[in-house]
């Protein structure tokens, strides 16, 4: 008798998760990292496996860190917006190439254009875990002290950049 209740039981567990999911907007994850120093890392540069890049390279200026991968469809969608942002010259964009293949990622930048000042190559996703990556793309705004000030989950759009990212960047740049 009890075994006929199994499908219903599984379904109810699923519903519990889905209900919980409704209040957890994946695009608005209040990252516990906001207001904290960015996690330390040292990774090889995407363009050159012989040199490394670390969190200290980013410190000193207000910066944007964008997490992306070639397998991520939304990253392709936001790439145009990133290029536009880079064109304004108002802020340096760093990239964290997440769980990707080096050759594919290099090709991507050649093909689509390269908005990044530099890219860290996180093929294992180890650094991504420290940054609490939920799913690429994600974008962090970091102040000159290396404190994370904002996190955006999901693709950047012209609106997000103009209404959230750039005003925040301007504010951080004027009042360090």
């Amino acid at each position: 008798m009890a075994r006929y209740l199994v499908p219903l039981g599984i379904f109810l567990v699923l519903v519990a998760f889905l209900y919980r999911g409704l209040s957890l907007d994946p695009k608005l994850v209040p990252s516990p990292l906001v207001g904290k120093p960015m996690p330390a890392f040292t990774l090889t540069r995407l363009q050159d496996p012989n040199t490394t890049i670390s969190d200290t390279d980013i410190k000193g200026k207000v910066a944007v860190l964008n997490i992306w991968a070639t397998w991520c469809v939304s990253c392709r969608a936001e790439h145009g917006a990133l290029l536009e942002l880079a064109k304004t010259g108002k802020v340096d964009i760093y990239g964290l190439n997440y769980k990707d293949e080096r050759a594919a990622a290099q090709q991507w930048l050649r093909q689509l254009g390269d908005p990044y000042v530099a890219n860290a190559f996180d093929d294992t996703g180890r650094v991504g875990i420290d940054w609490g990556v939920y799913g690429a793309p994600e974008t962090f705004v970091i102040d000159s002290q290396g404190i994370i000030r904002h996190k955006h989950v999901g693709p950047l759009t012209a609106e997000v950049i103009n209404e959230q990212i750039l005003p925040l960047v301007a504010k951080l740049q004027t009042s360090p």
Binding site: M1, Y4, L5, P7, L8, F11, L12, L14, V15, F17, L18, Y19, R20, G21, L22, S23, L24, D25, P26, K27, V29, A69, W71, C72, V73, S74, R76, A77, G80, K99, Q107, R110, Q111, L112, G113, I129, G132, V133, Y134, G135, A136, V153, G154
Partner: protein, 668 residues
Amino acid sequence: MIPELGNFALILALCLSLVLAIFPMVGSLNNTPGWMAMARPAAWGQFFFTALSFACLVNAFLTNDFSVHYVALHGNTQLPIIYKISAVWGAHEGSLLLWALILSGWTVAVSRLSRKLPIEVVARVLSVMGMVAIGFMSFMLFTSNPFDRRFPVPLEGGDLNPLLQDFGLAIHPPMLYMGYVGLSVAFSFAIAALIGGKLDAAWARWSRPWTTVAWVFLTIGITLGSWWAYYELGWGGWWFWDPVENASFMPWLAATALIHSLAVTEKRGAFKRWTVLLALLAFSLSLLGTFLVRSGVLTSVHSFAADPARGLFILIFLCIVIGGSLALYAWRAPAVSSGGGFDLFSRETLLLGNNLLLIVITAFILLGTLAPLIYDAMGWGKISVGFPWFSAMFVIFTPFLALLMGIGPLARWKRQDPADLARQLRIALLLSLGAGILLALPLLHEGSLSAGLAVALSVWLVSTQFLSLRQRLKYRKGLTGLLRDLGSRGSGSYYGMLVAHFGIAVFIIGITFVTQFDVEKDVRMSPGQSLELAGHTFTFEGVEVVPGPNYSAHQGSIRVYKDGDEVALLQPQKRTYLVQTKPMTEAGIDAGFTRDIYVSLGEALGGGDWSLRLYYKPFVRWIWLGGILIAIGGLLAASDRRYRIKDLATEPAATTAAARKLASARSS
């Protein structure tokens, strides 16, 4: 005025679905023929008013009525007519209306084609479909009304997303919805059978053609979507394991399991409880997909307007429909006799194995899709499950599925002597191993090993299907025997199965070869420059600006030569749509049976130079060719003459016995 008419028609359709949901069901329970007889007229009325409402929305798009909020967001005066129509289902509200229209269409089809069925079965089936319709129509009216007006009225509409301005995508959603919603028929038959307590061969026989047709639509819809992604997104991918793609793939897998399980229930009377559970599962997964796409709990490229209020509505609806049906299952299923027995080794066992594999794959996809949500909800941190995980999972299970697919059709119902089967399969095994090794040997690297495995599996599938055909034609030799057999009763399902399994073989070759042997190159080219890729010479002739109806495009010209002869002139475009100003790529593709040559245009690099992406994609067409063959197989099976022979449906017991005799005669 007309949008109000549409809104009013939608309200009337909801009222009629309430009537449809209540009276025939109650009538069937207390045996009131008058109430049961209301089912058919109510179904027709519901269809009429939903269609009227849909026509009003189409009209609003055609006449550029931007006082309707939905039209103002997604319509535009410059849109070509075909995309004005497809814009109706280009976003959340209108696609729901399409969903409701298709549901009421299926309801009418059931009411029309069920004349031979007992009235209480018809009443219950239509009534359950009416309940589903209530959910969707009230969802629309209460949270997502496509007829809402706005003021002030804008002069121009926001335009349809340029990605969707494509013929493939204009027909992709209707096909997919035909499949999703079609599964509600199997679901309703299952609920009706559970209520009536009669889960028998007759029930399986009634459900089978409906399930198969829905599955065919789903197959076509998924294939179209994959083909569209390939040529429209500009980077030659054809499947991304995106949550929304998974949402369409899971019901497909469950429906595939269901059509196989229904065959066992119809022919052998076995697996009844399992089959009914699969029927509930297949439609539940369709509904779950709706929830995932529209509630915003997961991030996806197919971004529908996400809204937690809508999410909550669908979740409650899911609880009622799925929770209610599973509770009914828990209550009624124990009373169902388990039906025909079978030995440990028999066709039944093999089909059960296939079913379990399909369900395991479905479960893994569901888990992968929901993993980010589950991790988040449990506070275990955040993860993302990407392409590699799904691909690895799929590569592990599919070979076993293909192996069983080869053995199943040869095995006998009820009991199979393993030694005898092994003797029959010997030649197929030798052939496939031989072909696999032959292909894997010359280049022993990773790619050729998986290509070898793929060829072995495909040869295995094809040769075993031929062995099965030979076994079937044991007493009808030669071509005339084959032709006579083609015309006989029950031949549709059999030949449908052969074609669909052959489609799987083609599909396996396609995905493996394109994954392992495709060549791609990112290049910078100046006009007049040539380069070599995969034995072809590509000559870039430059880029010119060409105007389109509602976009302007940079169009490159690349001539492709092989051994000095011109093979193709490819003209990839980079379009800028005038309203949404999104850049879109249109790849230049030379399609071929054994290879595609694919070029997409990158960025202008100055001095007339452009960055280009060149691809050589071997056997990529076979992926969709496989999909088409699978769909054709399904159509053949659904058109089987025995579903249409008049007196069969009314005498279920006799036909079952006849079918059994026929089946055992065939397999011996």
